[in-house]
Symmetry: C2
Subunit: 422 residues, 2 copies
């Protein structure tokens, strides 16, 4: 029996876990590895495996059939390695969402031209085979919407804020100390990581070219303990949701924002570092998956599933169809989002604030469903005005916020969150 | 471009929905159909499609590449049709769980010998691509357990009992009037349908031969409104769960029983007619999916996904590996189930009942974690004694129940339910 000969680029926790998973497995053999530090103890025996200093060299080795890229980053060496491997007719498995979000089309085209597999199950929600589910399991469905909790760090922070009543900054500090958040957390908490993953899911769900640039993206830094408490009282949880929807005007909207999710929705129950994705298809209705989205073994599970697909000869084109068949979807902006919004405005606590805000909302065509003002104080301290709108759209909201910001009594950029009906 | 020519056997709601889904689709063409009543109005235009009176004849038509069997039942005509189609080297797609539970090995072998696809995504949890998830998405995992809510009718009944406080019989009556339950509901409420589906999932999860015969099976007829209320107070919901687990002794246990599911588990939130499946794998940990399990379009979605796999040339062997590689798993009985049990005993309300029961439990090595007695009455009316055990196993429970049943004060077969820790 011939083995599939595997070269692994990157021996961090994922790479090492893939290595362990393949160790002694029949049908596969790791022949070469590359990582930054040869002397580091990773708890794996690299005996009999070639060490390659420059990962890009894995692309041209005769003893490698499949390159596993688990280095990360959308630039070199990952980009050159994947490009070169595909050109050299080697199958590639990558866990690199940022690479695919930025260069997915170019790489998918290279894979197609060279008739080799480019697999990326590990790039989104590691332990959940969401790429296979959208590309194959629900292939007959016209997908109308995808809503995902795709970043474990953000979900951990929001879940902890809810449980403890602490502020964002306090929880982030703790998460950094515990190693759950990076020293520079911006890729997570500002929504970029979720955005990378969402742009891949959007391409699969809607058959369009991944387009990270047209994503509307807001992170979770401005969520306060009060927002979470008020949302809870109203029957919602706050989650950072990457959503891709076909709006009423036919355009596809991609958006990463904190959202209010009804507690009756399965996605509201995705806690801690878990990931969860809710899909809506014209045949299946709502379908939901959840599980561990990151970490060594869940990500390795996805890489190994791709390897098994390759060994079975069952790999599908990365976006499910030829790059030439992918549409240039007409992209919607935040303004096109139809629905209900949660708005929090921090104002000076003085008489007449509501009288200032109300006409602006009226003129923008926004009607208010409920209204909460808390924490009134004797002096002119800031207080929050929290509102839930009736059905409206993002254009109206943006127009109103623009004017509300200019009011004398308004002390900070208002916070706007879509309220999901799922 | 050549079309895949499809013959559909059975034009009930699923068959008609598959037909509609394929209508005008490029790449596929329905060439022949068979159903009982040619004159029935199904809201589909059968013009230009051959009508075949005997479905088995679809197996030998030259204008059919793929036979879609959506007739149901584990006997003829389904069995002969699928057998003959495979022998004639036609791919087969079936939604027939009972056929696969009873004849899966024979049919999988025929498919292998004749090098044609036998696909069955629609046989379990229609709208959820659970077969693909287990067979491909989680292929690298050693699965340790699968827990599924696999029957929408039972879940609807239990959810409604919980919501309204009604009895099983009252809810069943209503469900029958609404068309949610069959006139003869036994296949659903006694667990058979769940068992058929579970035996397919067990084969996929553990790489063993499907073995419906060794399933332990209890339905939901004996669940009372009181059970649901007490479970709720203790933090649980009662669900009919098909579970397959590798027990501590290495044996595989397949069991369909009502279970207490902690409200913290995602599977506890699968309400109404929905299905949900929780899997545990050594790499991914817990992974969960939910969605619509039955009905016209969700089931059609699964059949169409199989057709797309076939047209892409990406079908996998039905159980993920060659029949010769499937193990004859060492099967566990109910006695091997390790864990906590819920026990309800209906007794005459007189002094000394506990004194009668306690020594029996002690002698069986069962210790009781909590104990509830409700509805004490002045006369010798029946009351329920409800107990939660500490960790024990099914052997001890069965031994104790055998003796408890013989007590004078015990008025009916005690109810035993496993308490899941998921």
């Amino acid at each position: 029996m011939t083995h599939l000969r595997v070269g692994i680029a990157g021996l961090g926790i994922v790479g090492a876990s893939v290595y362990k998973g393949l160790f002694g497995q029949s049908g596969f053999k790791v022949t070469a590895v590359s990582a930054r530090d040869k002397t580091k103890n990773r708890g794996i025996d690299l005996g009999g495996v070639a060490w390659v200093d420059n990962p890009i060299d894995l692309a041209s080795r005769n003893d490698v059939d499949v390159v596993v890229e688990v280095i990360g980053g959308d630039g070199d060496p990952s980009l050159s390695l994947v490009r070169q491997a595909l050109k050299n007719k080697k199958a590639v498995i990558t866990a690199n969402k940022s690479l695919l979000a930025h260069h997915g089309i170019e790489l998918a085209k290279l894979a197609e031209e060279n008739k080799v597999a480019l697999c990326c199950e590990a790039s989104v929600a590691g332990g959940i085979p969401i790429i296979k589910i959208l590309r194959e399991g629900l292939a007959a469905n016209e997908i109308t919407a995808v809503y995902g909790i795709l970043n474990g760090t953000c979900n951990y922070i929001l879940t902890t804020m809810e449980r403890t009543g602490q502020s964002f900054n306090d929880v982030l500090d703790e998460a950094q100390k515990l190693g759950y958040a990076e020293a520079d957390p911006s890729l997570d908490v500002d929504g970029g990581d979720t955005g990378h993953k969402l742009s891949i899911l959007t391409a699969l769900a809607f058959g369009c070219r991944p387009d990270f640039q047209s994503l509307y993206m807001i992170g979770i830094r401005n969520i306060s303990a009060e927002d979470i408490r008020v949302a809870d009282e109203l029957g919602f949880r706050i989650k950072l949701i990457g959503q891709a929807r076909r709006e009423q005007n036919g355009k596809i909207l991609q958006m990463v924002t904190p959202c209010l999710v009804p507690k009756t929705s399965p996605i509201a129950h995705v806690g801690g570092v878990l990931n969860g994705i809710l899909m809506e298809g014209h045949l299946v209705g709502q379908s939901f998956v959840s599980g561990r989205g990151a970490g060594d073994t869940p990500t390795a599970s996805a890489v190994l599933a791709d390897l098994i697909d390759i060994s079975r000869g069952k790999s599908i084109l990365p976006f499910g169809k030829s790059v030439t068949e992918l549409s240039n979807a007409s992209k919607a902006s935040f303004g096109d989002w139809d629905g209900i919004f949660y708005i929090r405005i921090n104002v000076k606590d003085r008489v007449g604030v509501i009288a200032d805000i109300s006409p602006i909302l009226r003129d923008a065509g926004i009607s208010i469903e409920s209204f909460i003002q808390r924490g009134r104080s004797a002096t002119e301290q800031p207080v929050s005005i929290i509102m839930m709108t009736h059905e409206t759209n993002g254009h109206n909201i943006l127009a109103a916020i623009e004017k509300i910001k200019e009011l004398d009594c308004v002390m900070a950029e208002p916070l706007v969150m879509p309220v999901l009906k799922i």
